[in-house]
């Protein structure tokens, strides 16, 4: 037969591949890898790349996960223990089986971070910043500012730093050793701390304005709210916060046998469990039902487990005294009415239905107020707190605020988030002052999802995770392909003591061991973000997806636009778009 150099060979024997045929011309839609935002991240008041560090953990990259977490959250060992973790409420996995135990993983990473103290770098940027208050908001602001290169000094009125973390949260939830190490770790980044300095008296406001280029006010809300019923000044009646502060500073007040805690939030739970540890029989009085309680569910369960009694749909009417000391509490039975502005059903009194409860002590835990009397007048405020903008800016230039002293939910996470927002705001402000181009990214582009908090990483623009065409859109449950998941229960944290009557303040929740932590991290759906599972790569009928170092590349010259990759992506990280003509 003639040689195959002829145009046509004698036999139909192939001599090339179909790669010469560019079937990509057939398509009218095409896929794009588009990283979206996981709902946990939008829900997180701190603004943490939760999906990102869980994915790193899935890859076994513990150090990288810690680093990613620490970019946004200066105190994961604390939040891992005490945060109310709205991330888990938002978690898409919750609709499938159970939410990923983000808080427990975060706690493990937080503890791991504390294993190594950071080395402080010298300030790299001009400008020094004062932070007033060393609670979570203040420390977060200071932390992010030193990471941004500023010189920062924190002023704390109390003898020890930590604010409400130290005074408000019992040690069985947040061991003091953890808190101390966490604060040391933050300071280790180069934050200067001056305790026992009350700004406004020890250090006058004008002096502060003069000494620093910018100031962050993280004053907190430390004034317990009154019950507003007769008898509140009786002996044995405590503001819950004062009670906690007293116990947390080492005192062991005498309460008597029967203690009634009024309220359904975390302070109420803290008061109840602390009182329990002092030997009391504790009843929590709450005017709505268990379902409406704002306290963290785990805390309520722990309280129940430890023997705290609950009395729902009851509100105090007056405190009954004997010898100037409270002896009982008269209560009004309630029922649930229509939903109020918070979306919960409002308690409505049932006329004529009253009862009396014996009480040797009454702890009121019905909320806290910010004490802003000493603050200069030119910083605008409302009854609920200081008015602060998206970057924590107040009505006075160079002054920023955040945390419980501002109008925002009073949680540790919200405080940490506010501190970060203000740090970004201060960086932005100081750069403007120093004449840097005033084109800064809008707050919207810095948020994790439209409703999320600002990201320090996005602000710095140094995301270590490779992103492909990211869009700030939150992945919904229906965007996922659940065929690629297997139901698996959430791991439970180890807990100390199973029975009633815990009498010490040692930590109750023992968290995850390392293996459990990794296992739980692998439960994450990685909503919206490619985690290189290869589903798209393997299922492309046209082999139009190639592996790259960091992910995948589309071979659009062959892609026929069938959409299988986008339909099958377990986590909604591929979007089909119309082909441009």
């Amino acid at each position: 037969m003639p040689e195959s150099s002829s145009r046509v060979s004698p036999v139909a024997v192939s001599r090339t591949s179909t790669l010469v045929t560019h079937t990509g011309t057939w398509k009218y839609i095409r896929p794009v890898y588009r990283d979206l935002v996981a709902p946990c991240m939008e829900a997180c008041p701190v603004g943490i790349d939760i999906e990102g560090y869980l994915n790193l953990l899935r890859e076994g990259r513990l150090e990288d996960a810690c680093d990613l977490l620490a970019r946004e959250n200066p105190m994961p060992a604390v939040t891992g223990r005490v945060c109310h973790h709205p991330c888990e409420v938002a978690c898409n996995r919750r609709a499938y089986d159970e939410a990923v135990a983000v808080h427990a993983i975060e706690r493990h990473l937080g503890d791991a971070l504390l294993e190594q103290m950071p080395v402080a770098g010298a300030p790299r940027r001009p400008g020094s910043v004062a932070v007033v208050g060393s609670g979570p908001a203040g420390l977060a602001c200071a932390y992010h500012l030193v990471r941004l290169g500023y010189s920062v000094t924190v002023f704390e009125a109390a003898a020890e730093p930590g604010g409400m973390l130290r005074l408000g949260i019992p040690a069985y939830r947040l061991p003091r050793s953890v808190l101390d190490r966490q604060i040391r770790w933050i300071l280790g980044h180069g934050v200067a701390l001056e305790c026992g300095v009350r700004v406004g008296t020890d250090l006058p406001w004008p002096a502060l304005w003069d000494r620093f280029d910018a100031v962050f006010l993280g004053l907190g809300a430390q004034k317990g709210r009154d019950l507003g019923v007769p008898g509140e000044s009786l002996e044995g009646v405590w503001r819950g916060l004062d009670f906690l502060r007293s116990v947390n500073s080492g005192k062991r007040p005498e309460l008597g046998r029967r203690v009634v805690v009024v309220g359904g939030g975390n302070t109420a739970m803290d008061c109840a469990r602390t009182a329990l540890r002092l030997g009391a029989e504790v009843t929590v009085l709450y005017r709505r039902t268990r379902a409406e309680m704002p306290a963290i569910e785990d805390e309520v369960q722990d309280a129940e487990r430890e023997g705290v009694q609950f009395l729902f749909l009851a509100a105090p009417l007056r405190l009954v005294s004997e010898d100037g000391r409270v002896r009982a509490i008269e209560c009004q039975r309630m029922r649930l009415g229509d939903a109020d502005s918070s979306g919960r059903r409002a308690p409505v009194p049932i006329e004529g239905d009253r009862f009396t409860l014996d009480a040797d002590a009454v702890l009121s835990a019905v909320g806290e107020l910010a004490d802003l009397e000493a603050l200069p007048d030119d910083i605008a405020r409302l009854p609920a707190g200081i008015v602060a903008g998206a970057f924590g800016e107040t009505s006075r230039a160079a002054i920023f605020a955040g945390g419980d002293a501002t109008r925002q939910p009073r949680t540790v996470a919200d405080a940490l988030g506010a501190g970060k927002r203000a740090a970004i705001g201060i960086d932005r402000y100081l750069r403007m002052v120093h004449g840097e181009p005033d084109r800064f990214p809008a707050a919207e582009s810095l948020r994790y999802g439209p409703g999320g908090n600002l990201s320090a990483t996005r602000w710095r623009g140094d995301d270590p995770i490779p992103r492909t065409a990211p869009a700030n859109q939150v992945v919904r449950y229906q965007d996922l392909d659940l065929s690629y998941f297997v139901r698996q229960p959430r791991r439970a944290e180890a807990r100390r003591g199973g029975g009633e009557g815990l009498r010490d303040f040692a930590e109750v929740n023992l968290g995850f061991d390392r293996e459990t932590m990794f296992e739980e991290a692998r439960r994450c759906f990685n909503c919206g973000v490619c985690n290189r599972c290869d589903v798209c790569l393997v299922l492309c009928p046209d082999l139009a997806i190639a592996r790259t170092y960091s992910g995948y590349r589309l071979l659009l010259e062959y892609c026929k636009g069938c959409g299988i990759c986008a339909a099958e992506c377990p986590r909604g990280a591929i979007t089909m778009i119309r082909e441009e003509l």
Binding site: M1, P2, R7, S9, P10, V11, A12, S14
Partner: protein, 386 residues
């Protein structure tokens, strides 16, 4: 070594000596002895071939094609209905340029059932691209089987050797069996030009569009056009080893012949006998045996029939509605001759379905050919009494 054997066994012996590697066949009368003997040879180790006992002739040819595509020397044998069933795969073998060798025992086609000799089965496959070689004796069958592989592998074309049912297939004759060494020297192991090879992965026989299909058919035709010359070369080489040669076309006592009988298969022996007798009587009669039907040896026939007045073509076959196929082909070959003094071609349909073609029949045909003024428009059916 000389051995008395039936034609079917001569086929088996030829395949064995050619060291076929893969055999795939399905039994059909009168071919069965071919595969029975090969089965014995494979079973007792005299032949190191893989014999695939398939469930149909279609599969037999498909398996041979597969084996050949993978580089093996492949062989099958069939007859009549079996060949007809293979038809699709015969095209496949030729277009795919697979040098498969097939022995076809000429048998008529049903209905009604008739197992006796008739060339209509093989001639119906004339357009499949196969070389066709018709044999006269058992010795020729054995020699042709061996030569068929050489021819096939030189041209990458499939070869069909053809022998008459019973007159050859089941008739014992003394046959000289060549030494294996001689055959090995003549026919070394197959070196396939293209084969399925995981080291050089290629696709065979995919979609070919109009811009190339015609060229591939042209190549096939070119290969067949060369086949007569290559056959003569192969035969010359075989003649050096065996001392025997047959020719694509053989002229027997045609010198000065006024009438030449054109024959194929075992009728040729009868024709030789008749011609000898007539020559003794002084009648100028000869025989031209056509061994190679595809490619049709047109040039050679024009040459050997040059100056002959009358040609009587004996067709043990029928293209219904047209007549004898050899006569038809010969007429076409002679017509194509430029400035050639054409003999008159007389066509005779004889011996269909195994009816005996006796010396007496041939003598009548010679006589009639001499007697007629011009050939009839249509071939004459000899001895038909409807």
């Amino acid at each position: 070594m000389k051995k008395v054997m039936v034609g079917n066994h001569a086929v088996s012996w030829g395949a064995r000596l050619a060291r076929v590697e893969v055999i795939s066949a399905y039994p059909i009368t009168p071919q069965t002895q071919v595969v029975e003997a090969l089965s014995e040879m494979c079973a007792d180790g005299r032949l190191a071939a893989r014999f695939i006992k398939v469930e149909s002739e279609h599969s037999a040819m498909a398996a041979c094609i597969g084996a050949s595509a993978a580089g093996a020397r492949a062989f099958t044998a069939t007859s009549s209905q079996g060949l007809a069933l293979m038809h699709e795969m015969l095209h496949w073998a030729a277009n795919g340029r697979h040098p498969v060798v097939l022995a076809n025992i000429n048998r008529s086609l049903a209905p009604g059932w008739n197992i006796w000799t008739d060339q209509s089965d093989s001639l119906a496959q004339r357009d499949t691209g196969w070389i066709q070689l018709y044999c006269e004796t058992n010795q020729e069958v054995l020699d042709t089987t061996i030569m068929a592989f050489k021819l096939a592998e030189r041209l990458d074309l499939p070869v069909m050797l053809v022998l008459d049912a019973f007159y050859l297939s089941h008739t014992a004759e003394p046959v000289e069996i060549p030494d294996q060494d001689a055959v090995d020297a003549f026919l070394p192991p197959r070196q396939a030009r293209y084969r399925l090879d995981v080291g050089d992965p290629r696709a065979f026989g995919g979609l070919v569009r109009p811009d190339a299909y015609m060229e591939m058919r042209w190549y096939l035709n070119e290969a067949l056009r060369q086949a007569e010359v290559v056959y003569e070369e192969v035969e010359a080489e075989w003649a050096r080893a065996s001392g025997r040669r047959y020719g694509a076309v053989e002229a027997y006592r045609t010198d000065g012949a006024e009438v030449v009988l054109v024959t194929s298969g075992t009728m040729t022996s009868t024709a030789r006998f008749v011609v000898d007798r007539l020559r003794e009587r002084g009648e100028p009669v000869g025989v031209v045996k056509v061994k190679m039907f595809r490619p049709f040896p047109s040039e050679t026939l024009r040459r050997v029939l040059h100056g002959v007045d009358r040609v009587a073509v004996l067709d043990r076959n029928l293209s219904p509605g047209r007549g004898g196929i050899f006569a038809e082909e010969l007429r076409a070959a002679l017509y194509a001759g430029d400035g050639f003094l054409r003999p008159a071609v007389f066509g005779y349909i004889v011996g269909l379905g195994g009816r005996d073609v006796t010396p007496r029949v041939l003598e009548e045909i010679v006589a009639r050919t001499m007697r007629e003024e011009t050939p009839r428009r249509e071939d004459l059916w000899v001895g038909v009494s409807p």
